[in-house]
Every structure is written in C-alpha cells, then in structure tokens.
Symmetry: D2
Subunit: 490 residues, 4 copies
C-alpha cells in the first residue's frame, strides 16, 4: 500500500494527529461523497488511515482502512454507504506502529443504539480515566483516546436524558485537546474542548450542515463557511435544525494550537477568524523586519516555506524566486539512499534551479527546525548549486518543549534548539545567518486577532496542568500500549 | 483476495463456525509457527478470516486479517510474533457480511492487563447478556459472541482472585456452545461448555502444551494427543504446569455435535475417543445394511462422501470406484455460470469418469442433503454420463431443524426435508432410490461409544431450552447487527 | 499472488509444460467463458500463467498474466473479450524464472494481419531455427519455442497461399513435441506433431468446435468429445466448417508421452482412446500381480496414487482404505519448516489416519519416485503412525533418463534410480519392500491399445534423434536465455 | 494500482510521451539505483509504465510494469538488477489503452546477442517501415515505434561491422522524433534525431557516463551535466570511453519542441543551453509588456503557471501571491463528480485563498489552453471567491495544429483556438481579458538562444514533410492497432 506524505522529508516527522469531517444532509448532497471530498481536503492532517461512517435512519455502515483517501475509497464503496448523515476521519501515519484497530470513526453499540465518534486531538487524562473504567469492568480494544471518550459517553448516557447531555457531561470529565464529531441514531453532534486546541468549523450546503477541521474542507464539498465551533461549545443537528449548547467549564484559557497557523493547516483555510495564508505571509514580513539582510532573492522551502517567503520578499523588496523544485511523485515508499549518499539524496526530493542560485545571496525561509537535519541538507544543496550566501529564516520560534495536545514534537533530547544556541544551530546548519520568529511576534503574526493560543512548545507554559502520568506517557500514540498489550495479571 | 472454500459447491453452504488452536511453549517450539501449522490443519473449519495472538512475558502482539491462513501469514509476520504462548483462530466465511472487526482472537486490555480470547461456538443467551451489559454502560465494537464473553470475564475478574475463577464464573452465566481459549498475561486457559457441543483436545510437544479443536491439528505441529478437554472442564496452564478445574454445572447432558463426525471434522481426527474416519465408514456400512441395492460400483461425492462410500463398498462387497473427479483449483472466486447453464456447470467442479459409469448401476454416497440442489445436479451428471441406475445414500438423517450451536443450517423453509417426503426428495433428485442414515443408527455409527451427542438438527430436541430471543435471532452471525448498527436513541 | 500447486509437495516438482484450449463458436457459446471453463479443467497442466486471446471479426483482444485461472480472470475481463473464436493457454510454474513475457497465447501482427499461437510441448531444434532466423534479421522478445513457431509460420506464409499451408510447411521444419492452436483472422487451426507426443482432442458444442489438451476440458464447457487430433494432423475450422490436412511426414513413430497416463492427465480424461483412470487402475492391478504381499490395507498417496491403489486392492482382495488425508488448503505459499523439522513437516500436507494404520501391514501406492525424498517422508510418517509393515508399490518404471519433449524430469544426477539399485532405494526409503511397474507392462497398462508411446525417460530410447544442441540445452525453459539475455556483440 | 498524474486536471490531458535515462558505470555507482533516481526525476514525462534493463557482462536482466516508479520498484527488485550499465524508461499514461506489452525498455535477442532500446518520441514513418518488414517475414508483438527501431537495427547489423554503425544506418531510415538509448552487450549508445525534437543530455559521475532526457535527472543521481547530445549525434560509450559519431543527414532544420520550455520539462532543467525556469519567467515578463493591466495581484495556476506568474509580477511590479492552493494528494484515482457538479469540483483539486482574492483584480497565468474547459473553471472559481476582475494570461501561443512528434495535442476539432477567436475564447472563459504569448516572442522567450525549435502546433509549419499515412495515423499511440490486432488474412 502506497502512502504519500505531505512534505515528510522536509519536516522530519512533524505531524498533526487527525482531521474530522461530518455532514447532516437535507437530501441534496450525498453524505458519503461529501465526506470523501472533505477528507481529500484534510488529507494533509493524516495519511495513516481513514474512514467514513454513514447513518441510514439509525443504521450505521462504515468503511475504514489503512491508506490514503484515494486508496481506501472507490465508487462502489461510496455507493454502498447510504444514509442521511455521516462522520469521517483521517489519521496521521506514524513510522511503524500503524494498526487498523486504531482507525476512526469508531462505531459501536451501546444502551441507546449506535454511537460513532471521530476525534482530533489528545486527551491528557486518558490513562487515568481508562484505569477507572477498567476498575469497573471495562475492556479496551484499541489504544486511542477516542475509545475512552466513547465509554464515558455511554456511561453518562445512563444518567441523563439525551446523548448531547451525555457529551456535555463527558466534557467535564475528559481533559486535553479534542475536536469531536459524534453520531447517534438521529443526531450529529460537534464538540470542541474548552481550550479550543484544535480547530473545528461549521458550514452549510443548502439545508445540509457540515463540520470540518478546516474551512478548506467546506470549500471542497461546495459548502459555505458559517462559523467556527467555539471552544467549549456543543453543536447539535437533529431533524435538520441546529442547536448550540455551552456547558459551564469555568474560566478556561482559549488556547488554539499556534502551529496550525504556522504549519499544520492549509494555506487556504480560515481558523478562528484568521487567514492561514495571511498569517504565514505576516510571519515572513516580521522576519524581514527583525532579520533584514542584503540578498538577491528570497526562496521558500517547498511547500511549507513558500507563503512566508512571499511575505519576506514583499516586506524586504528582495525578489521572490521559485529556485527549489520539489518532486511531487516522491512519497513514503521512496527508497532511501544509503547513509554515505545521504547528503546527495536531498536532490531527489528537492532540487535547486542551479542557474538561478549560482553566485547569488539567498534568503531561504522554512517554517521550523526540529532536529536540524533538513536545514543542513538544504543549505548544503544551495551551496553546491553555487549560492554565495545562504541566510536561513524560520517562520516560528525555536521548539523547546513537548506537546501534549495532539502533535508529535519529539522529546527534548532530539530538539536541536534544546541543546544548542542560535549560534550553534547556525554553525551546524552551515548557513551564513539564522533568524527565528520571536515568540513575542506570534500575536502580531495573526494580526493581533482575539485568538487565545497555545505556545507551549515554544515556552513550556501550557494552558492547563500536565499530570505526571501524562508526562510519562508522552510518546507517539499517547497510550502505554500499542498493539502490544502489557500484561499484569498474576 | 482469494478465498478457497472446502467443498462449498457440493455442500451448498453448510459450515462450521470456527476452529481454535493454542500453545504454551516450553521454549522448544515457536508458538507463532506452531499456530500457523495448527491453523492450516483447521482451515476447513473457517476460511473467512484468521489470526494469531502471541504473549511475550505478558505483552501481546497479534496479526489477523480476512483470508486463508496462507494468505494472511508469511515468514516476516510470523517472525515478528515472538513469545511464550499463543492462541489462534480460523473463522468461517459467510457469503457477504464478512468484516475484519469480527476476526479473532479478540485482544483487549482490562483491569488485570491483557486478555485474549479465541472462541468456537455460538452462545444462546448472548443477546440478553449484551443488553444487560449495555444497561451498565458497556460498549460493543464487534458483533460476535466472543466480545460478550470477554466482557463477562472482565467483570467477574473484579470479584474474584484469578482469571481462571473469572472464567469459571463466566461459564455459569453464558449458555450455549463454546470451546474457548483464553490467554491472560501468564496463563493459557482452555474451556469447553458443559454440554461439550464443540470439540477441544489437548496435546503435548516435549514440555509444551497444545490445545486444538481437532486432533489433526496436533499432528500438524508434531504434538502428541493427550486427551480431550471434557465438557464443563477448565484447563489452566501456568509456568508449564497443567491444572484442571471442574466447576459444578449441575446435571448437564453431554451433547457433542454429531455433525462433527458426519461432516465437519477431518477424517484423520479423533474426537471424544471416536475416530472420525471410522465413524464415517461405519455410516456407510449401516447404509449398506439398511438400504442394500444391486449395483456395479459404489462412489462417494468428493471429498465428504468418500469415507462412507468405502464403508458401503466394504459391507456390500460392491467395488469402490473413484468415478467422480473434483477440480481442486476451483474456489470461491470461481465465476458462476448464468442460471440457464447451471445444470451443466457442475461438471466444472465435479466431473464423472464417463467410461466407468456408462451403462452401470451406481450407488452414490454423500454426507447430507440441505436444499437439494446439489444432489439433483450430481444425479443428472451421472445420468448424462450414461449411468443406468443411480442410488443415493446419505450418511446422515434428514435435516429438519435449525442449529443454535454454531453451524449454519438454513431455516426450515429452505430445508428440503422439511417440505418433502423421502419419495418427494427422491423424485426431485432424479435418483432411482434414496436412503438416509436412520436417526436411531447414530449411536451405532460412533460404535456405541459413550459420547452424548446433540442431534437437534435431525430431531428438534435440543439439549437445553432455546429462548424466544435466540429463536428470533437465528440467522448468520447470530447477533442482530452486523457492521450495520441498528439505532434506537431518540 | 497466490499459486496453488497440484500435489507439488508429493511430486517433488514433476510437471507438465502446458495445456491448450480453443473454440470456434457458432454463436451459441461465449468463446471467452468457454476458454475460462476449459482452462480451469486444464489448470493441473500449468499454474504459472494463463491467457485467453479472442478474435472478433479478425480483431484480436487478449488478456494474460501470472497466476491461476481464477486469479487472472474475472467477469469484467471475460466480458471485455468478445468475438467468434478464441485460443487459450495455461503454463507451468517453475520455481523462479517465471516471467510474464513467456505467458501465452502469443499475439502478433504479421504480413497477413494477426496471428495468435498457443503451444504445448518442447521443440528439439528451436535453438537452431532461432539462430537461422537471427541471421536473417529476426529479433526475439521471449524465451519460448512458441515465438520461433510464429516466426516460421510468418515466413512460410510469404511463400504460400494460406495460413494452414504455412502451418503445414512449418511442421516440416520444427522438430519435437507440439500440440498447437493457431488463430488467424478467419481460421482456427489445431495441429499435433507427427509423433503425437502431447495429447490434443476435438469436441463439439452445437455447431461450435472445441479443441483441448484433454477431454476433461471438453466436459467442463459442456462440449461432446468428437475424436483426438491425430499425430501429424492439421485441423482447420473456417466459416464453421472443419477440414483435415495430413501432410506427409514420412514414417514417424507414434509416441504419446506415456506419463500422461501415469500422472500428468486427469483421471477423467480419455487420451488417444484410452481411459486415464482405467490405465491407472490397471497399473495397480499389474503391481498386485507382480509384487504381491500379505497386508491389511492398500492406500494411495493422495491424489496421484489413489487410482492405482484402488486397482491394487481390487486385484489383491486387500481392502482399500483412505488412510492418508491431504490438506487441500496448502499450496505454493506454504511456509516451509526449517531443515531440522523437515521430517515432521510432511504431516502438515499429508496426515495419516493413525488409528487405521496402527499395527497394520500397509501397501502404499505412489505414481513415481523422482529424487526419493517424498517416499522417505511418507514411509516415516506411516511408521510413526504405528504401521507394522510398509510396502511401497510404484505405478511407473524407474526414471532413468531426461525428457526432451516438454516435461521437467530432472537431470540424471538427481534421479535416485540412476544412482541406486532397487535394494538401495528400498533401504533409503525405509520401506519393507518396493516394487516398480515393469517397463514391459506399460503396454498392458493401456490395455494393449494401439497407441504408440514414448518411454524415453525409462529406457533412454527416444522416438527421434536428439542433437547435441538440444542435449546441452536440456534445462528448464529449454532455451539458453530466460529473462537474462546473454550478450555476444563486440 | 495508483497512478498520480502531474497536473492532469489542469492540463486536460497534454502529455509528453516518455523519458529516458541510462548509465555506463565505472563501478562507483549502482546502475539500477541510478536509474531509479533518474526515473523519479523524469516521472512527470510519463506515468503509465516504467522499466529498467541492466547489462551484466552482456547478460541482461530487466523489470518493467504499469505504474509509477515508486510503485514498480522496491529494494529487492533493484538489488536483483546487477550489472555495469543500464537503460530505463518512463512512459506516459493514456486514459484507456495502457498495456504492459508497450512498456519499455524493449529487450530482445538478435544475431549479435542482446539489444535493449529505450525511446522517447514518435516516428512519422513507422507504419511504412513496419509494412515493409512484415513483407519480409517480420512479426510484431507491440504497438510501439520502438519495436520498429529494434527491427531496423537488427537488420542493418547484418550488413555492417558494429552496432553503432547499425544505429547510424537506422537513423537514415527512420523519420520523426526520437531520443534513443541503445544497449548492446558491451556498449551504451545515445542517439538523437537530426532535428533534435526531444531533449537528451549527457552527464558524468566520477568515471561513469549518464544520459537523460533532462538535466534535472542528472542532479537526482548526483551526476554533473556535461553537455546536450546534439541533434543527429550518436554517442557511444564502450570500456568507459566516449565516442561521438555524426552521420551526414544533409541539411536538417534544428527543431527542439518549444513546448519543452513552456510546459513539459521541469523548471530546474537546462535544455540545449537554456534554463527552463528562466524561459518561463521570461514568457511572463513578455506577457506583462504585451498585455499589461492594472491589477492587485498576479497568481499562477499551480504548478505550471507559477514560473511565468513570478516573471509577470517582476516585470509589472504587481505583487505575486500564492492565491490558489493545489491538493497534492489527488491523483488519477480521484473519483470524478457527476457532470452537474463539475463546476464545483475544481475546488477539490484547486482551491482559492478566498480572503486574498475577494474584491481584488487578479492576473492569472497558465501555460496553455487546450480545450478551454479548465480555464473556464478556474475563472469561475476565482469569481465565486469574490475576485473583482480576472485577467487571463497564457504563456504560450494558441494551439492550432496537431503534433506528430510525440505529444498528444488533440485533433483540431477539439482545440478551442481552432474554432474561436481570442474574443470568443475570452467570452467562453468568463475572463475580463485574455492574452496569449505571441508566436513572434518565442525566440525572445528563450533569450534569443541559438536553438532551432519546432512550433508546428502553433503555426502548422513542421520541420519535415508529413505523409498522408502519418496524417491518418495521428491518434494516441500512433499505430493502427493497440492490443487489438486488426486481422486481414483470408
């Protein structure tokens, strides 16, 4: 099975965890096909597995598998998924432990019939809740937080009058990041955690209601953007009518993941009122002011550095050039060259337009530096192509801390910025100069928009306390078993 | 994906539900490879999906997928499954609703660590238990009884001191047919329902203990047969030592499925002390005495009628001939001819040795008649090949009633014997005469061995009461949702 | 891709090279579907690759691929192959060098339009002809003799008035074994070499004419057997009319491969007037007379030893039993056990019915011994199952010489009978006694039917001279390049 | 099997025919891996099939299949392809009639051993030559020109002293476009037709010689660009030494396909001394001068319009923006929306950054207009996103004539520019204005470099006469049979 990664080479493995898409149709749009288009537009948020669950008068059918949306679905599968509403999911691909069991949406049966859940984010107290549930006789068949969420909803449903109330009660129990789509036999429910870590927005297509991780997915199925689901809000669609529930979560800090603007989201998405493309260009403009340099051209590392490069060029007056070409046919199955040929290999995925670069002073923009290996290769590549000077500009602050809310920033030991000074990184990269976006500029980057954001990976200050359990559990997948189940019984 | 069925054409869809195989190794045999060989030997009991779960010091890894054992496993997968014990499963393939979710073993985590279950049989009160569990907050992700069993074990484990005690308590709750392999972090547990509907035996390979649905699977991995697990018995292997537990189930009738001898099991298996091959030959001998006829040859419908045909020939003195050749390359993907060519099509899968049959009086033995379509085709085929007379002998009594214990005998409306007299069936089949094994001879068939057996499908008298719920739920898969989940919430 | 071999384990790799099937339809039968059924019936003659070419008013479409018939074809492919006539082919699977390029039928364009060829057999002068053609500018894209045949036909066609005349001229040039189906834009031509090494027969279905390697393939598509194509005969079907051409080949010895009766062909086929099943039973009867022994049962190694076992039992009066069960789910993808477990492994594919064999004197029949490894394993298996005595009877004479006519009998160094006396083989096999069918009995085996046959592999006396080139080229595939092309240019 | 097309949606099916890559290694670089990297870099030139043939001391092994390079090859396949030299090929994917038989390199055996050929281009007299060869007894197994070339080389080799001489003689016979790699047992030969329609360049890696359709493929395997192979030149590498042969072709007009600069080639390639990226930017600059307009931003249709957009922005001073985002996960398997949803569907593959475009005057650059359907959709998309004005600028002249030299420009009836005036196209597209690059500016586009080019598709004036046969045969694949072979014999 072929998996194509979105810039995985350049990004050294920084990934979003998931994307969700759901629709309650008024009959003018086929829910399964709408999900297909929506998932295609969200594919960059997860390439490991994907799935669509459709509810037909309360009967659910679903299809999910490892692979890209175009690999997992075809016309005959989509045609078999009939119904009035649907939720769907793309999941991010880890290097090794991908297992089908963890694919979403989760579909299950509980006391009130069927329940389907699609979830983007990471809970910070999943381990504790799981342990409590086990102590009351629960069994777990996956290693994803979403199963915990399902369980809590099922339990809460026994003590209240509707599934939306059960979701509201569940949100008082679970902590961390979640943008959630829940499908009961008659209702489509969208919910976003009180901090609003992960994006979630609502659109409309005639009388159909659509929910998606990003607004670009609304565009893809022809829906119009209505508004973002607000942090802590529950939106319920039933019988074609929309209701909003806002449980009291006390005083929660708004904390959208700032990296959605910097890298995760698509340039053509709007998140919490801010244009992603404009934010990236603005980061480039700020870098041009903070780290000016005399140069002949500004270039961006494709694709993620291009928007900021255009902004840097605009602000500095230095011409923007497309001096690096990316081979879009190279995906995850790309055969890696042996270690000794590694330096040369970057020219398979990325190749400079040599005659443009030769003898020139180049400003090169990328969105982040994680382990530092990519930047080194790109600087070397430009030098070999004859660049006289290479000035690196990074459109985010240095990564210094782990993320507990659904991204896979590696441990501190692997983060180059934790172990080196700016001068050290500059030296290692081989660049003539290096400038990171200042942490203080993040608010300017989003145009001083009234969006509270989480910048924990840059500052170590998180919007909520992190328990020791969560801290220990900080690793890919988040849970302490994958498809390996640790045993403890006597 | 290719699935080869075992005689599915001739049998019109009579299938066993599953086969199980497990091993607790002393280190002299690789558990995953032992399971692979064992499952190969049990493939006839299920061709839909298969799986192996291995426990390595309490950490479980597993692999399961749709397809045959040779399709699902290869060396690299087997090599990745390391550990000291393993359980494994083959599942029977329905025509349409095969879903990966239902593949076994089920692997889950509960309060005491990991729990894996492989299950052969059908519960008769799964729906009731499921409903009770749901009313206490449980969620279900599959449609198989085995998930119910896991849940009950997990709950019972909270109230007792060991997993084997939890299994014992579970056996007081669940009703129906089950031969069960349970793997906890340190123990391998084999359990058989108090009626002993499905076979389960124990073998030994050096200091390793092996459990399998049939003794032929012990042969396949080089193990020696030790004994059958007895109805109502729990066998626990821990630290290389075997313990037997016999909970009190009151006065339960022994009720091994008699069809294991007639058709399901392999000829080379021993079940509850009786040789399957010998029982089949004996059925042939009884038929020869009960329904003698002057004829030139005795032939068996391959493969399932051959053993009885040898017995009939031996008893009657009429020569045994292999006058029908079966094409072993035709499996499930075989392209069916259009309706109008159906009568001819039987010669693709089965073809007579025409010169043997021409002008001859033939006794033809098959193991059963379900809907009556196969027997009709075979008689026609022999007539077209020139047979002067065709005398059908069936090595089992007529199917009159459904099975609630793990086979897929169709509803009464489809059973030819429910709707026609023997004369009527003879006429429909086109045979010159027809003889069924008398119900009264079943005990003679197994040599008057002290094996209590269930003959409910012939007599309608079952060893335990069947609830209305079970009666209604009598359909493939047994549960009232497949991967369609019926919704009920408001 | 899954390949299932026909008894490959037991046979240690003795294989036929190919099977052919063709049809000229009168419109009452779909040529592609007829070929599909015919190839299914011939699958035992080749499992490497298969193909069907259909001619629709002179326009040819074809489909061929590696794999079994059920793997390579499906309804949508068959539906796309429309036309009035078709030829098709199954090719035998070597261990390694299977290449798609060598799949048949070959389809090509020459001066008179299209030409398709399906070929069973091996030429003995292909290398010489190929060299001559190359010296006149020819290029070769495959390594099969069939391409040479196409070339010669294309050349001869330039000098004569019809394609059948070109075929006749070609038959004066090519030497060795060939049963040939040739499809020109308007004609279906069947031809058999003057010695008649390989079988080829003709059938009829309404007004449609069918040709097949074996009569069982006629049965499979509902056609009636008409007659064998005679050695040296060319049968031409055009406009629904049949013509026979018999070029003068001088005095050629009839030389049907005797191993067709012993092992290659299906039991339900008739070849050159002789029933294969009857010949095999007769071999058993002869063995019973030549090598009588006191014993409790006669068994056959499944499947190829069963017919002779029935004959032995009939002649000797010792009961026939099915005391070895073959697992039909084990094909080529079967994972081989490691060397040290090899002796045990035979019980995966074959397993004795232990209680039948225990303490008994067993006569065991197999069709041949090639390298001697299988017989050793089976004797060991029976001994371990408790057999008191094991008497091997082989329904063919010892293999002593290579075959140049389309089978893969290994080199003399590997043939056990070339390197050991009967006593030596008996000792190696561990059997109590061993008896081979005498060479002198082969004629009796086929009922003294007037069939000239080739017994070169037993006697070293071939029906035609073998050139040094052929002798050297004696290896799998027959040609001196596979998809490796040896280079010679300066 | 998944095929990803390079911008197929936007381009409506304009495709190059092929790309070639070959290497003669000095032992410091693995030929198969070099080809793999080279083919990856040339994947945009053909996505239907690909193949690598390696010569190991004159023995050739090869692997080819349908699909992308990353799909067809893996480490174990590459590891099996050992040798000192290799040639390889990517082939363009037509909608339907892709057949494996047509995959390249062609590998064959002729009088002097093996011969392998990889070919980019289209002959204009292939049909005539094929007919002549057939009249002398030749047979053809593919429908590609390359087989004709092989035949002619094989014939000529009989009359001369070396394979390079045979190639030189062949070049006097064949007409049209070809960049050719030929591998004989000891020599690697690169040849380019006398007009030089298709690019071909030479590079060096230590002592290894590399040939590729584009210089970017040299970069990908670490080789340095040496020079272009000149029109009419034959370069022979033998024993690590390079020789150039320049047969006399009379006065042939240099005629590089100008569309290589406009669209086919990669931005980072150099062809015949001209930078592709620079040529595209220059086209943008010319458009800015020829068709100036007041606007707020310049955008390019990804990916092919971006370079020219940067040039237009540079010349006009209007800011360049990335206001259209392309979904790189959508390939050929993308499920097309139904006809009525077609207008909306463009937002699945391409989506505007709505807030950038809203209320703005946009200059949009694309490289060409073929049928006019894409431009219509993109203009509509921008209008829907709120663009106040949309000004289309096309970086090539209007397509008016077919191409006979290896591209798939559709017939005149389908070309919008053949049937409408500029005003008409503007109206149909919905744009506010439309400007095509003037034909007269093509020379300025490539910086007045001394490159003779073919602009037949714009002017109808071809560098050589086109025969009636070629004219009639102008259709996909070029030959008059695909895997349908038209029959003519009596």
């Amino acid at each position: 099975m072929l998996n194509y990664s979105f810039d995985s080479y350049a990004k050294e493995g920084l990934h979003e965890e998931c994307g969700v898409f759901g629709i309650f149709s008024d009959g003018t749009i086929n829910p399964a096909y709408a999900c297909y288009n929506g998932l295609l537009a969200l594919q960059h948020r997860g390439q490991e597995s994907c799935g669509i669950a459709v509810s037909d008068d309360g009967v659910i059918e679903y299809h999910k598998n490892m692979g890209l949306v175009t690999e997992v679905f075809n016309n005959s599968i989509l045609d078999s998924l009939n119904g009035q509403m649907a939720i769907s999911h793309v999941r991010y691909s880890t290097a090794g432990g991908s297992v089908l069991e963890n694919a979403q949406p989760l579909v299950m049966r509980y006391v009130k019939g069927t329940l389907s859940v699609a979830h983007n984010g990471n809970l910070t107290n999943a381990v504790e809740i799981r342990r409590q549930l086990e102590q009351r006789g629960a069994i777990f068949q996956t290693t994803i937080d979403s199963e915990v969420i399902c369980y809590v909803i099922a339990r809460e449903r026994l003590n209240c009058h509707s599934v939306e109330e059960a979701v509201a009660r569940t949100m008082q129990t679970i902590k961390g990041a979640y943008s959630l789509l829940v499908m009961s036999p008659r209702k489509l429910i969208a919910a976003r955690d009180p901090h609003g870590f992960r994006p979630l927005c609502m659109g409309k297509y005639n009388g159909s209601y659509v929910f998606a991780s990003e607004s670009a997915a609304l565009d893809a199925c022809g829906a119009e953007f209505v508004r973002d689901v607000e942090p802590g809000e529950i939106v319920v669609v039933k019988d074609g009518k929309v209701n909003s529930i806002r449980p009291d979560f006390g005083d929660k800090k708004k904390a959208l993941c700032i990296f959605e603007y910097i890298y995760f989201a698509r340039s053509d998405s709007f998140i919490d009122g801010v244009s992603v493309y404009e934010a990236r260009k603005q980061a480039g403009r700020i870098l041009a002011r903070e780290f000016p340099v005399e140069a002949d051209m500004v270039i961006g590392v494709p694709e993620s550095g291009i928007d900021a490069a255009i902004g840097y060029a605009e602000e500095s007056g230095i011409p923007y050039e497309k001096a690096i070409v990316k081979n879009s046919y190279i995906g995850r199955t790309f055969i890696k060259p042996s270690q000794k040929e590694r330096m040369k290999s970057v020219r398979i995925k990325l190749n400079p337009v040599a005659d443009m670069v030769k003898g020139k002073r180049v400003v090169m923009i990328d969105d982040s530096i994680v382990r530092g290996t990519t930047v080194d290769r790109i600087v070397t590549m430009l030098r070999e192509a004859g660049a006289k000077e290479v000035h690196m500009r990074i459109s985010s602050p240095p990564f210094m801390w782990p993320c507990y809310y659904g991204t896979d920033i590696p441990s501190r030991g692997e983060l180059i910025a934790c172990n080196h000074t700016i001068e050290g990184i500059t030296a290692l990269s081989g660049a003539d100069s290096l400038g990171y976006l200042p942490v203080e500029s993040l608010h300017e980057m989003i145009g001083y928009a009234p969006v509270g954001f989480c910048q924990g990976c840059f500052t170590g200050q998180y919007p909520a306390d992190i328990t020791v359990e969560t801290f220990k559990g900080k690793e890919r997948g988040g849970m302490n078993f994958d498809n390996k189940c640790q045993g403890t019984d006597n």
